[in-house]
């Protein structure tokens, strides 16, 4: 069966973001001060643990950004026709979760549906029963114990997790051994005791735990609905994993879009002064004085009207949803660049008067050269800190905006839309809690990891914090 790659605009930006990150990493490696700062980040166990967690999320998000359309069966010689459904590599990987759709709600690890149904009994009467699920736990015979089945399926997972963590430990040990000029066994012992310079032990512990969860998912998810199903019977685990990309895209692309403006305008205002400064200050004061929720609401409403009145722009529903996601990022970017811009302006004002910049000017360096060589590298720590701190704020904002009705497209799976759908069901008796719990767990893990990592980055890069 053939397929065709689909490159959605946000995919393109995700790839661009990866390229930018790689370039940034290479540049950061070359400069001794930033190398030292990153080393300070790596010394903190919480930062290393968070970095592993964020990498796992990033890998999931990246796989969800490789989109394609499947070729539909068509006659011999006829032109190839492609399904209008846009899938991703993650969808392909999660096919068992994606296609095994129940009728409606079911609790985590349930055998039976959550709702009662009226069925005809063999003797002609009617009965209200909760029917067996079509897929969830359907391999179990009547009366077969679920616990022993789960235990049997989970038996190999700790060994796999241990093997992966152990293999990684050996690789790391070899690396540390070469760096320090000690034996491998000695290096491994040091890592296990937590006596290495970088906090490798905490990273390894998180790798082990993550592998344990992933292996459990691989072992059980094809046979059970581990986190239950939602109103239309979709697997909640699948929805949660799909939400990760939306959250990551909003948290990172927003910054990617606004960064060039914020940096260029902030530095220009601070360095050039005069009417440029006045104009830029006026611009961000105006934008800043509009409460951000209202500004976002107004912009999103207008964007919605534009998309609704021009349906011809988009071939597939996925493209429309993607355009909306991108527009949302752009709008969030427009409303959030002002803070960074003001910080950069202030820092540039300070740097402009320093001796080394004066010296560069006296040697006849041109303004663009000074900005690029002397100002920009010295304000990068502010940019980095604010990018790291903004990420978690943006992920949290998405949920609220989706509730207000100015978030992502309703067809886009996101934490916000999951919470929104689950909220309406809380009044039920018994409570349908699993969608909310899943969104809560995944969001908390992601945002907490991001917050801890951002804290470490701030502590390492903010010069004011090192004097203490």
């Amino acid at each position: 069966m053939g397929f065709r790659f689909v490159l959605l605009p946000t995919d393109l930006l995700v790839f661009l973001l990866i390229v930018c990150t790689v370039i940034f990493a290479v540049l950061a490696r070359r400069r001794a001060p930033s190398r030292e700062a990153w080393r300070r980040v790596g010394r903190q166990p919480a930062a290393m643990a968070s970095a592993v967690i964020l990498s796992v999320f990033a890998i999931i998000g990246f796989m969800d950004s490789l989109h394609y359309r499947v070729q539909l069966p068509s006659g011999e010689g006829a032109q190839a026709v492609y399904s209008s459904e846009v899938l991703s590599a993650l969808d392909a990987l999660l096919t068992p979760l994606r296609v095994r759709v129940e009728k409606t709600y079911s609790a985590p690890f349930a055998r039976e549906s959550f709702q009662r149904e009226t069925v005809e009994r063999a003797d002609g009467g009617q009965a209200r029963i909760t029917p067996r699920l079509v897929y969830g736990a359907s391999h179990l015979q009547e009366g077969e114990s679920m616990l022993s089945d789960i235990a049997r399926r989970l038996a190999w997972t700790p060994f796999l997790a241990l093997a992966v963590a152990g293999a990684l430990l050996c690789v790391l040990g070899a690396g540390v051994a070469r760096n320090q000029g000690i034996g491998v066994a000695d290096a491994v012992r040091r890592i296990l005791a937590g006596r290495t310079d970088l906090a490798w032990r905490s990273a390894l512990i998180v790798v082990f735990l993550a592998m344990l969860l992933i292996a459990a998912g691989v072992a059980l998810a094809p046979h059970y609905h581990m986190l239950g199903t939602d109103k239309v019977g979709q697997d909640v685990l699948y929805l949660s994993l799909k939400s990760i990309r939306t959250g990551l895209v909003i948290g990172t692309l927003t910054t990617l879009i606004m960064l060039p403006f914020a940096v260029a305008l902030g530095i220009a205002a601070g360095y050039l002064g005069g009417w440029v400064d006045d104009a830029i200050q006026y611009l961000y004061t105006v934008l800043n004085s509009i409460p951000s929720v209202l500004l976002i609401a107004a912009s999103v409403l207008m964007m919605q009207v534009m998309i609704d009145t021009n349906p011809q722009w988009f071939d597939t529903a996925a493209q429309r949803a993607d355009a909306r996601l991108l527009a949302l990022c752009a709008i969030l970017g427009i409303t959030s660049w002002t803070g960074l811009c003001r910080l950069l302006r202030g820092e540039t004002l300070k740097l402009r008067e320093l001796d080394y910049v004066q010296a560069a000017r006296a040697f006849g360096a041109s303004t663009p050269q000074i900005l690029r060589r002397h100002i920009l590298p010295n304000v990068m720590h502010i940019v980095l800190i604010s990018v790291a701190l903004d990420f978690s704020i943006l992920v949290l904002a998405e949920a609220v905006l989706s509730y207000v009705g100015i978030g992502v497209d309703p067809s886009t799976i996101s934490f916000g839309s999951m919470i929104n759908a689950a909220r309406a069901e809380l009044a039920r008796e018994p409570v349908v809690w699993w969608s909310l719990a899943a969104a809560f767990g995944f969001m908390l893990t992601m945002v907490l990891a991001a917050n801890l990592f951002a804290d470490a980055v701030r502590d390492a890069f903010d010069p004011r914090r090192q004097l203490r």
Partner: protein
């Protein structure tokens, strides 16, 4: 002082004009009134005729900035920009889609918003500063470490979960307060205690951490060392010196939001069915009533600029070195 206030008020003019122009372009430039009419009427019923009628009924049938059909100064004044946008400076907001006067509606809804937002604001501030002082007093101990960890964890939870969880636990399981609603008079307290409580809990994590950073920055200053050297107890240093000197950064973040309390909170009011400006805005967004959203943007900006002026004035109260003029 008076001269300063007047100057600041005059300076607010161009900014508000900028806000006004920006919102006008946002609401009328990106999509023409025709587009909006077509969407409001639904594609099925949008004939040329009905669009024209819709625009005439609502006064959208004028040119944007320049009306050549009129005489003299009316060429400039009988336009959409003057009619829909500049008029807001006189707090005339026109009618909502359902025919009600927006200005009247806003006036009536300010009080409930304020009734929720003010206690939330005051209690959050008090709780956050108290906890931050506690953490700073026990700085570099296990209490400090776990306190900050708890704060970061609480910050990482979406406010939606606080509201949903609070409603479920307090109202449904413990049945201590009504799930949602609002009443006039003393009865109000019964309805307000839950949203206020949730608001305080949801904000206390980030607040505490923020004030802790401010206090820690102050505590490494020389005057604190001097105070300790003179034999002042740690508590006295904290309350008499650190707290007072931290007032400037605290006020910078705090005073500016006081006028905006009238706007209320979108989430709280929507979840608790409080008839304030926040729920008004949410309803307007959901029913795509652009007139209301435009008005709220303008009012929000006015209140924000007012807050900035208040911030500058409040500096003179806590720091005698600050002189405005």
């Amino acid at each position: 002082m008076l001269a300063y206030i007047v100057r600041r008020l005059l300076y607010a003019g161009p900014i508000l004009l900028g806000v006004n122009l920006f919102t006008f372009i946002l609401f009328f430039g990106i999509n023409t009134p025709d587009d909006i009419a077509r969407m409001q009427l639904g594609p099925k019923y949008a004939s040329e005729e009905s669009i024209q009628r819709w625009k005439t009924e609502r006064g959208y049938d004028k040119p944007m900035f320049y009306n050549p059909a009129r005489e003299g100064v009316e060429k400039l004044t009988d336009t959409l920009f003057v009619d829909k946008s500049l008029r807001m400076f006189a707090f005339e907001f026109g009618q909502a889609n359902d025919g009600h006067d927006i200005a009247l509606e806003i006036r009536g809804r300010m009080a409930p918003s304020f009734a929720v937002a003010l206690p939330t604001f005051v209690l959050s501030l008090f709780a956050a500063i108290t906890l931050a002082l506690l953490l700073v007093f026990f700085r570099a101990t296990a209490l400090d470490f776990w306190g900050v960890t708890l704060c970061v964890t609480m910050m990482s939870i979406s406010s939606m979960f606080y509201i949903i969880g609070g409603q479920w636990l307090v109202s449904k399981i413990w049945a201590l307060a009504p799930v949602s609603g609002y009443a006039q008079g003393l009865d109000m307290v019964r309805f307000l205690c839950l949203p206020v409580l949730i608001g305080v809990v949801a904000g206390v994590g980030s607040g505490t951490r923020w004030y802790r950073t401010i206090f820690l920055e102050e505590i490494s200053r020389d005057y604190v060392r001097t105070a300790r050297a003179k034999g002042l107890s740690e508590l006295a240093t904290l309350f008499r010196h650190v707290l007072k000197n931290a007032m400037i950064p605290i006020l910078t973040g705090v005073v500016v939001v006081i006028p905006a309390l009238f706007l209320g909170s979108l989430l709280m009011e929507s979840f608790f069915a409080i008839p304030g400006l926040g729920s008004y805005t949410i309803e307007a967004i959901r029913s795509q009533d652009f007139g209301i959203v435009r008005s709220m943007v303008f009012i929000g900006s006015v209140l924000y600029i007012f807050g900035l002026i208040l911030t500058d004035l409040s500096y003179t109260l806590v720091d005698p070195r600050v002189r405005l003029g």
